[in-house]
Subunit: 251 residues, 2 copies
DNA sequence: TGTCAAAAATTGGCCTGACCACTTGACCAC
DNA sequence: GTGGTCAAGTGGTCAGGCCAATTTTTGACA
């Protein structure tokens, strides 16, 4: 039973939490104005400086916006997202993955442990199982790649790989990759073996050589193939992509 | 000419920034106690509630810990990193930068605009100016590298570069790189020209060729040199690094 | 001389009341 | 319709006060 220091709860935190709950509960809608500091201080029976402290915490947390002379306004979550940029388009993401995950694979090639290999094999088997059932391999796919990020034994590299997958998780389109491949085969005489399982097997085999160059090449070949799938699906109008999703602009 | 809303700068933010800079600059060591609220209010010629607001912001940011009745203490970045388990060590960061920023430079080499080049030159001049005054080039350095991230015209790559710099910003040690170089020269007959300005100039010249390989090589040479500085400083006990900061473990 | 409890001093936490800067809406002149 | 002025309301900051928590000092005692 670990003993931890007792940290008395600051009053401003109580106020901030209550206001946060009221906002989350819909009492104060996004874009609306909160009651004035003076009114809140009276309603909550605390001093105005305490309200101000709570407001600062909420503004830092992104929940509100304080406008001098006007009032305090609830931030619109959609507005926050729009301001924060919706993230990279699919082709941007693929390009970045080719470069960054290629490097991660190269680093990992010399640092994989037996545990890493076991985990990769497990993820691959999961992909095989799901593919046989015509189910999305998305989760197992992600696991496979994040194992590689961790296998670099470099938390900055792992974080970079994780971030790429976080971007990817925002686009539901990726979960349909398997279906897309099936659709493409209906339209074109596709020679390449598009099996994700084959690609991932090749990556594992490259790791078995311990050669960073081979690992990088296997990873990049895999990711370029996925990018090609995306390009072909776009050309066949199997998926709708917005402007940002177009291949990265060349000056 | 886009018109943007003017956001007046809150006094508590000025105070928080100044204290943050003092902490980063080593004026207040990790674990040490800041002057009392009353003393700070008098020293900075602001009211005590304003100091309190600044303290709240700094505590939320993780820079300090407020202990009722005792005082306000600077959090140990290593302790913070250990608690949050989110911070790569310096060598991890450098390794990741060599790989990721090398790739970013290669991509950017074919996509730089004239505006990008102008911005890079400007950042370089700022570095020159600061270096002449023996001042930290940290901000201009960061700007230089983030311009390159944006010059990839790939927001996933830019985000990856930004994340590396966010990690870097958590370690005040980097602001003292210039001093470290000076110290190293007192201890060793160092043959390499350690001028950051020279390295960055070489990167710009590599970009002028438009050759991705050359750009990658110039960026990686620069970052490897920085990593060497770090290694040497560590060997000379000029900086104290915790276990995680050691060169990436090899299995 | 060392230990321990109590007192004093210091520090953060919160409050009250005041004044100033900024914003908004109403109203008026041109 | 536009610009200017004014009043009311809002946030921003200040000064001073008192209380709770912590640390330091002091005095008593073995």
């Amino acid at each position: 039973m670990p003993v931890e220091p007792i940290k008395p709860r600051r009053l401003y935190q109580e106020v901030a939490d209550q206001l946060s709950r009221l906002i989350a509960g819909g009492e104060f809608k996004p874009g609306s104005r909160l009651p004035s500091e003076r009114d809140l201080a009276q309603s909550l029976q605390v001093s105005r400086p305490t309200i101000r402290e709570a407001m600062i915490a909420l503004e830092i947390a992104g929940a509100i916006e304080i406008r001098t002379g006007s009032g305090v306004f609830v931030r619109d979550p959609a507005q926050s997202a729009a301001e924060a940029d919706i993230g990279p388009g699919p082709f941007e993401l693929m390009e970045a993955r080719i470069h960054i995950e290629g490097e991660a694979a190269a680093i990992a090639a010399e640092r994989l442990t037996d545990l890493d290999r076991t985990a990769l094999e497990k993820a691959l088997h999961e992909m095989e199982r799901l593919a046989e059932r015509q189910q999305s391999i998305e989760e197992a796919d992600r696991e496979f790649h994040q194992i590689i990020g961790r296998a670099t034994r470099n938390s900055a590299m792992a974080a970079a790989v994780d971030q790429l997958w976080a971007f990817r998780a925002r686009m539901p389109m990726w979960g349909k990759l398997h279906e897309l491949i099936g659709e493409i085969k209906k339209h074109r005489d596709w020679n390449d073996d598009l099996s994700a399982v084959t690609d991932h097997r090749a990556i594992i085999e490259a790791f078995d050589t311990g050669d960073p160059q081979k690992a990088r090449a296997a990873m990049q070949a895999h990711l370029r193939r996925v990018s090609d799938v995306l390009m072909t699906a776009s050309e066949l109008d199997l998926i709708q992509l917005n402007d940002k999703a177009a291949p990265a602009a060349r000056e």
